[in-house]
């Protein structure tokens, strides 16, 4: 994020802390795509993303006063969102009947030499999403932030509070795992550490 944008964001945070509704709304909407991606990466269900986002908004409205460093709004928001999404996922897991998250095993022709050769576009998207759901969480989060939020490595590193090199490596490994899952390649040595 550029310095100018960061300052602008800090200004909005300060205004939001003075109970400026419009400033808070702008602040959240500006960060909405990656926030949605992050929540999705944790709960994995589009239908429930909006409910969690609303809970996050409520928490942000209630807690924005407690943010000491306005320039750290994004990581603060990410931590808050992650907690809320994890709580939602735990509550969901406790409910009977919703315990098992079924991830469809992909039935792929192992002989297919090239990716997406025989698949329709919609089917490809479905397979990618299934593969994304099967990723370990830390890879899934980086992947979703990169694709839903259209963020730079630096932005993702800032939000997740991790080094940029970690973002690069996680993203590469996430892609490799998705690729292997779709093509049915099980010889990949990209493993979760």
């Amino acid at each position: 994020m550029t310095t100018e944008r960061r300052q602008n964001q800090s200004t909005l945070v300060c205004a939001a802390q003075q109970h400026d509704k419009e400033a808070l709304q702008r602040l959240l909407i500006r960060n909405w795509p990656w926030l949605k991606g992050l929540v999705y990466s944790i709960i994995g269900d589009t239908d429930e993303v909006d409910d969690v986002l609303q809970d996050i908004c409520v928490r942000v409205i209630a807690k924005i006063d407690s943010l000491r460093e306005p320039e750290r709004f994004r990581p603060w928001l990410a931590v808050l969102a992650r907690r809320q999404a994890l709580r939602h996922r735990q509550n969901k897991a406790r409910r009977p009947g919703l315990l098992k998250e079924e991830i469809t095993e992909l039935q792929l022709d192992e002989k297919a030499p090239r990716l997406f050769e025989k698949l329709e576009q919609k089917e490809q998207c479905r397979q990618i999403l299934e593969a994304v759901k099967s990723l370990p969480e830390k890879y899934r989060q980086v992947f979703m932030l990169a694709y839903a939020g259209d963020l730079t490595y630096g932005n993702i590193a800032e939000i997740l509070d991790i080094p940029i090199t970690t973002v690069q490596i996680r993203l590469v490994r996430a892609r490799r795992m998705i690729y292997d899952k779709i093509t049915g390649n099980k010889s990949s040595k990209v493993l979760e550490k």
């Binding site: 959240l28 949605k36 986002l53 908004c57 409520v58 409205i61 998207c125 994304v132 990209v190």
Partner: protein, 191 residues
């Protein structure tokens, strides 16, 4: 997949994400020129990247309620929360509310605690009577309590009562305080 392979994938990833530096791009181009496998991998990952963008967009970005709508609902929810209203009060008002609440609690404790902390004494039997003919008490030296001169006025005291008959046949009613003080309570002549 060795480390070199992962390095190649990192470079491809950076290229796809628009994060590659000019020097890294040169290295990548060199690899792509030398290694047909690298070129194929780039094509595969490029296709995967495009499909991933479409998949995420269709799954997340284009679905669900608008951000404004969700925020508005959250705002309404939060505004309806009475605890939130207290927290959002003006500083002085919040101070005043806190002071009032503190005063009320203090007053309540002031009046409630003495009753609660008074030690329980064993009940005194009402028919506790004793005769002690040796005691000679001059009732005239003590003014009678007002409650006794006015029998209609009832008061409660923690005392023991004794009655006895002296040598002249007078009956005495003695009020014995718990602190071992004895003083005459009343004298009615023919008690």
């Amino acid at each position: 997949m060795n480390m070199t392979q992962e390095m190649l994938e990192i470079l491809i990833g950076k290229y796809l994400d628009g994060e590659i530096t000019p020097s890294e791009q040169q290295i990548l181009q060199k690899r792509l020129g030398n290694n047909p496998h690298a070129k194929e991998l780039l094509e595969q990952f490029q296709a995967l990247n495009e499909r991933s963008c479409e998949a995420v967009a269709s799954e997340i970005i284009g679905r669900g309620k608008e951000a404004e709508e969700i925020f508005e609902q959250a705002w309404q929810r939060q505004a309806a929360n009475p605890f939130h209203r207290i927290l959002k009060m003006d500083g002085r008002l919040r101070f005043a509310v806190g002071m009032t609440a503190g005063l009320a609690i203090g007053l309540m404790l002031h009046f409630v605690l003495p009753f609660a902390s008074t030690p329980q004494r064993p009940p005194v039997p009402t028919d506790m009577l004793a005769q002690n003919t040796d005691n000679q008490i001059d009732a005239g030296q003590f003014p009678l309590p007002e409650s006794l001169t006015n029998p209609a006025e009832n008061t409660l005291r923690n005392v023991d009562w004794y009655s006895f008959t002296d040598n002249q046949g007078n009956q005495w009613l003695i009020e014995g305080l718990r602190e071992n003080n004895v003083r005459p309570a009343a004298y009615y002549g023919d008690l």
